[in-house]
């Protein structure tokens, strides 16, 4: 596997809101747009159908994540799906003009319901839980480097990586990286606790990762060969 350390472009740092030309719509998508842009009873009926569609998607998502919510009862799952569908309908209607016809309308609309449901489940699963402290994350390193299959190369790589996390990253980058990458805190939950957005946090994570890769590269760390070995 080839690993490129230097990134010629950095789209995470660039808003690439391309306005693609509207594709020719399929009949079903055209009907959705027509009905949702209508007035009176036709629009009401279309919104009701949209809600039904998005509720099905939200239930699908909540169903996939039930294990993360073992403390909830059956009715709570449906409440969560209903809230997600309600919020998704609002989002879809607000962004109707963004639909360019590059997918079917239903596929485009589903993503709003799946996002709302996924975020709600993640937040509910972490409700009332304290975020893990940084030292929890460090436990990975000594264990990882001292196993029977660990090579000297791997030990050196992990030692260098740990030093880089401590010395090269800003405190904010370190906190975000360890929470997301090692302690398993969902990005929406961390964004909520830190009063920021998912996009902004991912950029922080991306910048931290880039610094670490550059640091390892500068020190001639055998990252590429190690990753190939374990693929």
């Amino acid at each position: 596997m080839s690993v490129t350390i230097v990134r010629p472009i950095d789209p995470v740092n660039v808003s690439r809101k391309t306005v693609a030309p509207a594709a020719s719509l399929d009949d079903e998508s055209r009907a959705w747009l027509r009905d949702l842009r209508a007035e009176g009873p036709d629009r009401d009926a279309a919104i009701a159908r949209l809600h039904e569609l998005l509720l099905r998607a939200a239930r699908f998502e909540v169903g996939r994540r039930r294990r993360a919510l073992s403390s909830l009862r059956g009715g709570d799952f449906d409440d969560l799906a209903l809230q997600a569908a309600d919020d998704a309908v609002v989002s879809v209607l607000a962004r109707l003009d963004d639909f360019r016809g590059l997918s079917r309308f239903t596929t485009w609309a589903y993503k709003f319901a799946l996002l709302e449901a996924a975020v709600k489940v993640r937040k509910r699963a972490w409700q009332g839980r304290e975020l893990p402290l940084e030292p929890d994350a460090w436990q990975v390193f000594p264990d990882a480097g001292s196993g029977p299959e660990s090579s000297t190369e791997l030990g050196e790589l992990l030692t260098t990586l740990k030093s880089a996390i401590e010395e090269v990253l800003t405190p904010h980058q370190r906190r975000v990286l360890l929470a997301l990458a090692l302690n398993g805190v969902p990005i929406d939950v961390l964004a909520d606790r830190l009063g920021t957005t998912r996009g902004a946090l991912y950029k922080t994570l991306h910048d931290a990762r880039r610094k670490l890769r550059a640091h390892l590269d500068e020190r001639g760390m055998p990252l590429e060969s190690w990753l190939e070995e374990t693929t």
């Binding site: 990134r7 998502e61 485009w108 996924a118 990975v140 990458a181 990762r209 890769r213 990252l223």
Partner: protein
Amino acid sequence: MTERQLPRDALDGLLGPAGPEVGCDECFDQIDRYVELELAGEDTEAVLPGLGAHLAGCPACREEHASLRALVSGER
């Protein structure tokens, strides 16, 4: 999880994908198109460069992509 897997998983999370990638907002904007291209067997990287790398690096977007793909493919 074995000790052999642990550092690999940790390294993937810490270092992320090697190539250029889009951010979460653009991923969300394009994920419906990406899924339909995937299901049609098209070259997603050629049409939407950097989105696959983002899915490799972002667990939340990866989960939502898997759900959308499963939901849409179940209807076909």
